[in-house]
């Protein structure tokens, strides 16, 4: 049986995070960007839980952290989607490239 150490989890998390990062930067649809952000948040969670399991299993700090991260990202996604809807109502578009009213 193959032994799987923390490096594997970290590597997986890194790959997921990188994919999310690319999506957040590259996609123009606000919903897609939000999804990518979720992906990044989840990969962080994975990392934290894995490290906690390997390094400090009894204290479960990582799990507690992950719960809080979940709370925050849930809140964020709720607000983010609400924003997207609000913007959609105004501009009939969820393309990020059209949102540049802050342009200098």
């Amino acid at each position: 049986m193959i032994e799987v150490g923390p490096a594997a989890f970290m590597g997986l998390a890194a790959v997921l995070f990188t994919l999310g990062l690319y999506g957040a930067v590259a996609r123009k649809s606000a919903v897609m960007v939000l999804m990518s952000l979720e992906l990044m948040a989840v990969s962080v969670n994975l990392n934290v839980v894995a490290l906690s399991r390997f390094v400090t299993p009894t204290e479960m700090t990582g799990q507690v952290f992950a719960i809080f991260t979940m709370v925050v990202s849930a809140a964020e996604i709720g607000l983010g989607l609400a924003l997207v809807l609000a913007i959609y109502r105004q501009t009939r578009s969820i393309e990020l490239t059209t949102m540049d009213s802050l342009k200098g």
Partner: protein
């Protein structure tokens, strides 16, 4: 003796009361200024009495000090030092100040801002009194600068007109050129001794390295030259005559301009430690005395004649100190303060009466204004150096000191200056008071009507074109000063003893030479201007000495030289620096922004928008760089996201590399 501190504080308090008031209230409260100075006068006499009979040089009757800061273990203080020198100065300042303030009550009464005038005059008096009471150079310097401010404010009193405005600025800046030297001198002094106190600095001066002593002395002298209008920093004083005449009498004749002399006299041990500095002082003084006198010869503006004469007389005082006759210099300071302020007050009456300062439009005033003529005459004779008027005594002492010091060239220069002085005094006297009236105003005198009130600089309201004496507040100060001018000379030997030097009556030889030269000057003046109208064709003389005359007429090119060599180049430099700043220094910044923008475009993406951005960005390099800075702010979330992530990547790279 704590009341000594009140001497400068009373006028300062008057200023503090007057300054914040509204204009109308301030105008009504001008008596506060007079009261403050009068109080100072009374206290000064008390202080003088306490110092009497003086005699011990350097012995202070009273001292007190209050620390205003402690820096690195050194106390910087405002302190009072009452000794014979300061006691004498107190009397001179307060007497002249009271005279001027009383005189101004009438003279300035129709001015819209008379309250402000009184406030500034009070502040000035306070600063001057603080200066002579100071027990350290720092306080002296501070009062020195405050006086400069007051001088600025009073010269520019009628700032609606171009001339006073420019003159005030010129005065402030020119004296400040000197002050830069003064300030550096203070820094050197402090670096050497770790103190500003007279006791410490002057007491140790003899032991300084000669180079240091010379440096400090020359720097202080430079400051004194600015304030006391010595060549080549004299150019501001004639222009300063654009201010109200009583203010000129107090500030630009009697007190402030003499502060430089006072400074050099106070710092004498440093000058003595240097030696060379004394010689420099003397040479500058002698040059100034002669140049000032010569320039006074060609002026037609009554006040400017007096201004150049002041410059010349201040030069005399510097000669005295440089020649080792500090007491003579101080005595001349005292006598000059009285007779020159008297002359200015007289000039004020004339100017008010005739509404002109041009001597060519005057004449025959002697009969119309007997009081003015009499007091002015006393001052003029004192200035010319005719016994028994005060100027004779002090000038004699100076000549004596120069002769005793074997400075024969300077002696000759001083005599020449004395001759010129007497000559322009005669010119002034005969043009103004003798001969026939040359204008309607000078003609029409009816002594009993109410008098014209507007000064030349004021407004052309309905005034009464009459040439006559004034009464009351205007007249009595002049009479008082006239009496002092006539009598104070006899105190010469006692003055020396009061200051702790051996007193003596005039040396017959020197006295007769000086009298002779003065009389010769007066005689020559009479020959040219006085005998009868047109006896000597001044135009012919001018034509004869055309080059010399035109040089004098152009103020020996000092102003022109400054204008051409300093001011215009300075303005050109500042303007080109401003352009440099905008285009080069700022251009680098904006250029960096453009480059950065281009670089980010290049590395962060080749999608259509960005490629366009690169092209546009490159094109913009030649256009306004500001646009590029703005372009950094695209307003799009993801652009910012990229910046942030880029920075994050860099930061991580740093940590990883550092960790490895």
């Amino acid at each position: 003796m704590a009341y000594v501190a009140l001497i400068p504080l009373l006028p300062a308090l008057a200023f503090a009361v007057l300054a914040p008031l509204s204009r109308a209230v301030r105008n009504r409260m001008r008596w506060v200024g007079v009261a403050g100075v009068a109080g100072s006068l009374a206290l000064s006499f008390a202080a003088f009495a306490a110092v009497w009979p003086g005699g011990d040089e350097g012995e202070a009757t009273y001292r007190a000090s209050a620390s205003i800061a402690s820096v690195g273990g050194v106390d910087l203080a405002l302190g009072i030092l009452l000794d014979p020198v300061s006691a004498v100065m107190l009397i001179v300042i307060t007497v002249v100040a009271v005279c001027v303030q009383v005189y101004s009550l009438d003279y300035m009464r129709h001015e819209e801002r008379i309250g402000w005038y009184y406030a500034v005059l009070s502040l000035f008096t306070a600063a001057m009194l603080a200066l002579v009471l100071a027990d350290n150079f720092l306080m002296l310097y501070m009062s020195w600068e405050v006086m400069g401010l007051c001088s600025y404010l009073l010269i520019g009193f009628w700032h609606e007109r171009e001339e006073p405005r420019k003159a005030s600025q010129k005065a402030f800046l020119t004296t400040r050129v000197g002050d830069v030297g003064f300030a550096i001198g203070l820094a050197v002094m402090y670096a050497t001794t770790g103190s500003f106190a007279f006791d410490v600095v002057l007491g140790s001066a003899a032991g300084w390295a000669p180079g240091v002593a010379t440096a400090v002395a020359l720097l202080l002298l430079f400051g004194a030259m600015g304030k006391s209008a010595q060549v080549p920093l004299h150019v501001w004083l004639p222009d300063a005559m654009a201010g109200p005449t009583p203010a000129s009498a107090l500030i630009h004749a009697a007190t402030m301009v003499a502060a430089g002399v006072y400074l050099v006299a106070r710092a004498l041990p440093i000058f003595e430690a240097s030696g060379i500095a004394l010689t420099v002082t003397m040479v500058i003084g002698a040059t100034t005395a002669l140049v000032g006198g010569l320039l006074a010869l060609v002026q037609f503006d009554l006040k400017k004649v007096l201004a150049y004469s002041t410059i010349s007389q201040l030069g005399y005082m510097f000669v005295a100190i440089g020649a080792g006759g500090a007491v003579a210099g101080m005595f001349h300071l005292v006598t000059h303060a009285f007779f020159k302020s008297l002359l200015f007050l007289g000039a004020g009456v004339i100017i008010h009466a005739l509404h002109t300062q041009d001597m060519r439009e005057m004449g025959g005033l002697g009969r119309r204004m007997p009081w003015t003529a009499a007091t002015f005459g006393a001052g003029a004779l004192a200035l010319a150096g005719i016994a028994p008027f005060s100027g004779f005594w002090s000038k004699d002492e100076i000549l004596y000191a120069v002769w005793k010091g074997h400075h024969y060239v300077v002696f000759a220069l001083a005599l020449a200056a004395a001759f010129v002085t007497a000559f322009y005094v005669a010119r002034l006297w005969f043009r103004v008071f003798m001969g026939a009236p040359r204008t309607l105003a000078a003609f029409a005198g009816h002594a009993d009507t109410d008098h014209g009130d507007e000064d030349h600089g004021g407004h052309d309201g309905g005034h009464d074109e009459s040439a006559a004496d004034r009464r009351g507040e205007t007249r009595w100060p002049m009479v008082l000063l006239g009496v002092i001018t006539a009598g104070i000379g006899f105190s010469a030997p006692f003055f020396s003893e009061f200051l702790g030097h051996a007193g003596h009556w005039p040396d017959p030889m020197i006295a007769s030479v000086s009298m002779g030269v003065a009389l010769a000057g007066l005689g020559a003046g009479w020959w040219v201007y006085g005998r009868r109208a047109g006896a000597v064709d001044t135009e012919a003389i001018k034509a004869r000495f055309r080059p010399a005359y035109s040089a004098l007429d152009a103020k020996i090119y000092f102003d022109a030289a400054y204008e051409r060599l300093a001011i215009r180049p300075f303005i050109r430099v500042t303007e080109s620096l401003a352009v440099f700043d905008r285009i080069v220094v700022d251009g680098v910044v904006n250029g960096a922004a453009v480059l950065w923008r281009t670089a980010t475009d290049l590395s962060w993406g080749f999608d259509r928008r960005v490629i366009d951005g690169v092209v546009n960005g490159t094109a913009r390099l030649s256009r306004s760089a500001g646009v590029a800075l703005r372009r950094l702010q695209s307003g799009r979330v993801q652009t910012y996201q990229r910046y942030v992530l880029g920075a994050l990547v860099l930061l991580m790279l740093l940590i990883v590399v550092k960790g490895a």
